[in-house]
Structures are given as structure tokens and as C-alpha cells.
């Protein structure tokens, strides 16, 4: 029995496979400015692995099925699970936008500590004859156990 292969949704977004995945950013050689995702390697910008832990700068929820395309997640209104997105402020002085693992407004609070995780996104059954693959993407998870975060 073979395990389903886990594959990142795109190359050069986060380090994978890894027990402690990191987002891959790049630094502009002249201005020192960081940007995520990393600039094209052809630009010569130096790759920088970002900190895994930061604080929640702001967030919102996504209660309706996003337009597809471009969205490739579950678009069946019967099974669609609302999710949350947010910007996490990293110690490098950068805000990074990502999905959050928690979508209950009562359990999210601006300023709370968050860490980078890699989560299943969807099954890729795109090619006939090839075993299905589990696509994974990055997300931010509240560091304290769910429930420990008190509401606003």
C-alpha cells in the first residue's frame, strides 16, 4: 500500500517536505526590501526563509464559494467549508497573507500569536493512470490551543 504523495500547490512558495516548513521570500539587493512570494530567480534577488511565527495583523472570513476559476478548492455549495484569511506580521517587518486554520470569529483576535503550518488543500486527480496526489498549501494557525483564545 502506497501513501498518497503530498505536493505543494506551487514550487518555491514554502520549503517542502519539512517538519518545520518556512515561507520562501526574496530580498531586493539595492533596497533590502523583502517580498513574498520570492521574485523570479532571474532577477538575482537573494532568497530568504521567513520566520515561522508572528502575530495576527488582521483577518476576515470567506463565507461564500469563491469564483472558480481561479479557485480550485471545493465549489459545491452543499459541502463548501467557509474559511478565514489574514495577514500575519512577521518579525522581519513583513505582512504575509494566507489562509487561517481557524475560521470561527470568536476564536480569532488581532494581535494573537500565529505559526506557519502546511495543510491539505485538495486532491489532484488530474492525470489518468497516475495515482491521486494530495496538494498542500501554507496556512497560519493560532499557537494557543483552540478554546484558550478568549473572545473579543
Amino acid at each position: 500500500m502506497t501513501e498518497t504523495e503530498t505536493v505543494p500547490v506551487a514550487e518555491r512558495v514554502f520549503t517542502w517536505p519539512s517538519d518545520e516548513p518556512r515561507l520562501i521570500a526574496s530580498r531586493h539587493p539595492a533596497t533590502g526590501e523583502l517580498s513574498f512570494p520570492a521574485a523570479d530567480p532571474a532577477t538575482g534577488e537573494e532568497e530568504v526563509l521567513l520566520s515561522r511565527v508572528g502575530t495576527l495583523f488582521t483577518w476576515t472570513t470567506q463565507a461564500f464559494v469563491p469564483p472558480s476559476p481561479p479557485y480550485t478548492g471545493d465549489t459545491d455549495p452543499a459541502t463548501f467549508e467557509p474559511y478565514a484569511v489574514g495577514y500575519v506580521e512577521l518579525p522581519e517587518g513583513l505582512l504575509v497573507e494566507g489562509r487561517l486554520t481557524e475560521s470561527d470569529p470568536d476564536r480569532l483576535r488581532i494581535g494573537q500569536p500565529m505559526e506557519l503550518v502546511v495543510v491539505p488543500f485538495r486532491i489532484d486527480d488530474g492525470e489518468p493512470g497516475r495515482p491521486d496526489r494530495q496538494l498542500v498549501t501554507f496556512a497560519f494557525a493560532p499557537i494557543a490551543a483552540p478554546g484558550a483564545e478568549v473572545a473579543r
Binding site: 523583502l34 512570494p37 488582521t58 476576515t60 463565507a63 469563491p66 481561479p70 484569511v85 517587518g93 504575509v96
Partner: protein
């Protein structure tokens, strides 16, 4: 001092019009604007047309008259109508025309705007994983703004209720049923903290204005409105804007701030001079934030000002007297022309049931759109 006046304004109602093409709505708006100006199409020397859904909006001339004039299609997202008006005003200011027209029309399918993130320079995974939604930006910006400046969800509901109440007095509005603050708050969130009734939605409609050299304007109109300023600004690097996978922590202010300052400088006026304003209310949070970004109040003052009725038709600075985007919906090419149409009515004292009392003399319009564009006009009697 600009040498541009508005001598005519026309508006096709906003809503859903099965079987009617956007371009026909645009042609109707042009005819209404020409009738208001008391001129014929053959007197128009130059034109600018904006639309998202119609790829050749300049083709509208086929509906109103093939006179051979220079006629240009323009597009700047939700700021498109300001672009059409600005370019028509520039043409007059630069001597290319004495009379020019700006028109916008659209007919959007239902639901949130979609698009291809890759075509806009964003990574494909940003769209695939559900991050490429402008509504996320509105929810996130409002969430942080409310938290940092201590503004309540009740204030969001007050803004929405006010706009629906104003829309009920506007025969050309789409949503004309007032709603209570409780109903608005109790609705499900689309994007926290914004509920279903705190958002505008894409729909259909058209608007047009006829602009004229100011020194000639009284030949055509007994109530010309002076276009005292027009300004559009794009985002500066690092500004907290839509569709940004990452941003610096302390970026520059929104392009709205830059556009507003430029417009007030051009007009030789300040926010304190404005008697009636149209501010982009994509959602209730946006209207609150835009009050401060356009210089009308300090960050955080909105909680008290809105509770005291400051932005009501009877208040010190009536905002979105025709119901704004929330009650009218947003046909992108036309939305800013609706704003100007309303200010023209208000400054002429012809706004009927929703007329701002006390003879308003200075009006203001503001658009904001992806990927970070602020656009403003200042109008005076």
C-alpha cells in the same frame, strides 16, 4: 481655477434590466445628458466611454450618431468613470474641445467579480487557494480599522441603514427598501465583520455628463456646475492594498489620501468647505474609512459623528445621499458618473425628497478600486 463646467448630466436607472444591452443604457444616459444640457449630439466634439463588460465602449457612438468625432474607450477598474470625466475635462482645459462628453455603462453577471490573477501579475496559487478576492481586502481593512480606532459593528450597520434609507428616496436606485440596523447586523457575514447587507453588488446601469468650457457654459445651461478639480492617484509602493500577497508593516497611506489632497489643492478648497459628498461605499467599512482618508474627519471620530447623524441628509456632511453603491449597486463604468449626477442634482437644488437643505455649494465625489486607485472630483455651484 479650472475652466471646465458640467452643463448636463444623465442617468439610466441602476438595477437589473433583462433584455437590455449595456450600450443601449449608455445611449439613453447620453440622450438624457444632452437634453439636460439643451444641446444636440452634433455639438459634442470629443468623448470618452468606460466599461468593463463592453470591450469597445466607444461603439456607443453608433447608437447616438456617427459624426466622426474623436471618441475614446477608457478603463481604470472601479475608478473608470473618473477617468472618463478627467480625460474629457483635460481635453477642454487643453483646448482640444469646447464641449466633451463622458459616459459609462455596464451589465455585470451576478456575484463577486472574478478574474485571472496571473494576468494581473500575481502567482497562480494565490487564486487557486482562494486568496484572490477583493472582498477579503475590504473585510480585513475594516476589521483592523474598527479594532484600532475603537469603532463598533453598530456603526457599520448605521452606515448601511442610512444608505438604504437614502436609496428608498431615489427613484433610480436598485434597492429601495429600508432596513433596520438589527436586520443588517443579524444577517450572515460575507467577510467578517461585514454582513450580507453591508456590501454593494455588481449590477447594471449607465451615466453620462456633458462638460463645457466654463466661459461658454451659461450659453447652454442656466445652472452650470463648475468642475473645480479632478484627480486620480495610483498606490505607492507598500500601501495596504487589494491583491497583495505580502506588504511592509508601515506602508504609505491609501491612494485616496493622495487623490483627495491633490483635488483639494487644485480646487483651492478644503474638506471643511464641502457640503455634500459621495464616497465609495463598496461596503459599510469603506464608507467609514473613506471619511477619514478624504480628510473629512480624524480616524476614530466616525463612531461619534455617525451616531449623531453627521452623514445623514440633514447632517453637517451628508454622504451618499442617493444611497451610494450599497443601494444602487455597481456597474463599474457608470458608478462614478452616478456620483457626479447626484452632486449636480444636489448643487442645483433639484434632488427632490432627498435634497440637502441649506443650499449646498460644494460637492465631492470619490471612487476607490483595484488594484489601488483613488479618484476624486470637487464640484461647485
Amino acid at each position: 481655477m479650472s475652466n471646465v463646467s458640467i452643463i448636463g448630466a444623465g442617468l439610466h436607472p441602476f438595477g437589473r434590466f433583462p433584455g437590455k444591452q449595456a450600450m443601449d443604457m449608455g445611449a439613453d444616459a447620453i440622450r438624457l445628458a444632452l437634453a439636460d444640457a439643451g444641446i444636440g449630439w452634433e455639438q459634442v466634439q470629443r468623448g470618452f466611454a468606460g466599461s468593463l463588460e463592453v470591450s469597445n465602449p466607444d461603439a456607443v457612438v453608433g447608437k447616438v450618431g456617427l459624426t466622426g468625432i474623436p471618441f475614446f474607450g477608457v478603463f481604470n477598474g472601479c475608478a473608470t468613470a473618473n477617468t472618463a470625466v478627467s480625460m474629457a475635462a483635460d481635453a477642454i482645459e487643453h483646448g482640444a474641445a469646447d464641449i466633451a462628453i463622458a459616459v459609462g455603462f455596464d451589465k455585470h453577471p451576478r456575484g463577486a467579480f472574478a478574474g485571472d490573477p496571473v494576468a494581473l501579475g500575481l502567482p497562480g496559487w494565490y487564486g487557486e487557494t482562494g486568496l484572490f478576492l477583493t472582498t477579503h481586502f475590504f473585510g480585513m481593512k475594516a476589521n483592523r480599522y474598527l479594532a484600532v480606532h475603537d469603532i463598533s459593528a453598530t456603526t457599520l450597520a448605521r452606515v448601511a441603514a442610512k444608505n438604504f434609507r437614502n436609496g428608498a428616496r431615489n427613484e433610480k436606485a436598485w434597492r429601495r427598501t429600508p432596513m433596520t440596523e438589527d436586520e443588517i447586523l443579524a444577517a450572515p457575514y460575507l467577510n467578517y465583520p461585514l454582513t450580507r447587507f453591508m456590501y454593494c453588488a455588481p449590477n447594471e446601469g449607465a451615466g453620462a455628463v456633458v462638460l463645457c468650457r466654463r466661459d461658454l457654459a451659461t450659453r447652454y445651461s442656466d445652472q452650470p456646475i463648475h468642475l473645480a478639480a479632478w484627480a486620480l492617484r495610483t498606490r505607492r509602493r507598500g500601501a495596504f492594498e487589494v491583491q497583495s500577497p505580502s506588504l511592509p508593516v508601515d506602508g504609505p497611506p491609501s491612494p485616496t489620501v493622495d487623490a483627495s489632497r491633490a483635488a483639494f489643492e487644485m480646487a483651492g478648497l478644503g474638506p471643511e468647505d464641502v457640503d455634500v459628498a459621495q464616497l465609495q461605499d463598496t461596503d459599510a467599512g469603506s464608507e467609514i474609512i473613506h471619511m477619514a482618508e478624504n480628510g473629512f474627519c480624524a480616524d476614530g471620530d466616525q463612531e461619534k459623528l455617525i451616531a449623531e447623524g453627521w452623514t445623514e441628509i440633514t447632517g453637517r456632511l451628508p454622504v451618499n445621499t442617493d444611497g451610494g453603491l450599497m443601494a444602487n449597486g455597481e456597474p463599474i463604468g457608470a458608478s462614478g458618473l452616478r456620483q457626479i449626477h447626484e452632486i449636480v442634482l444636489q448643487l442645483r437644488g433639484r434632488a427632490g425628497d432627498r435634497q440637502v437643505p441649506g443650499r449646498p455649494r460644494v460637492g465631492y465625489t470619490h471612487l476607490y478600486g483595484a488594484p489601488g486607485t483613488g479618484a476624486v472630483t470637487v464640484l461647485t455651484v
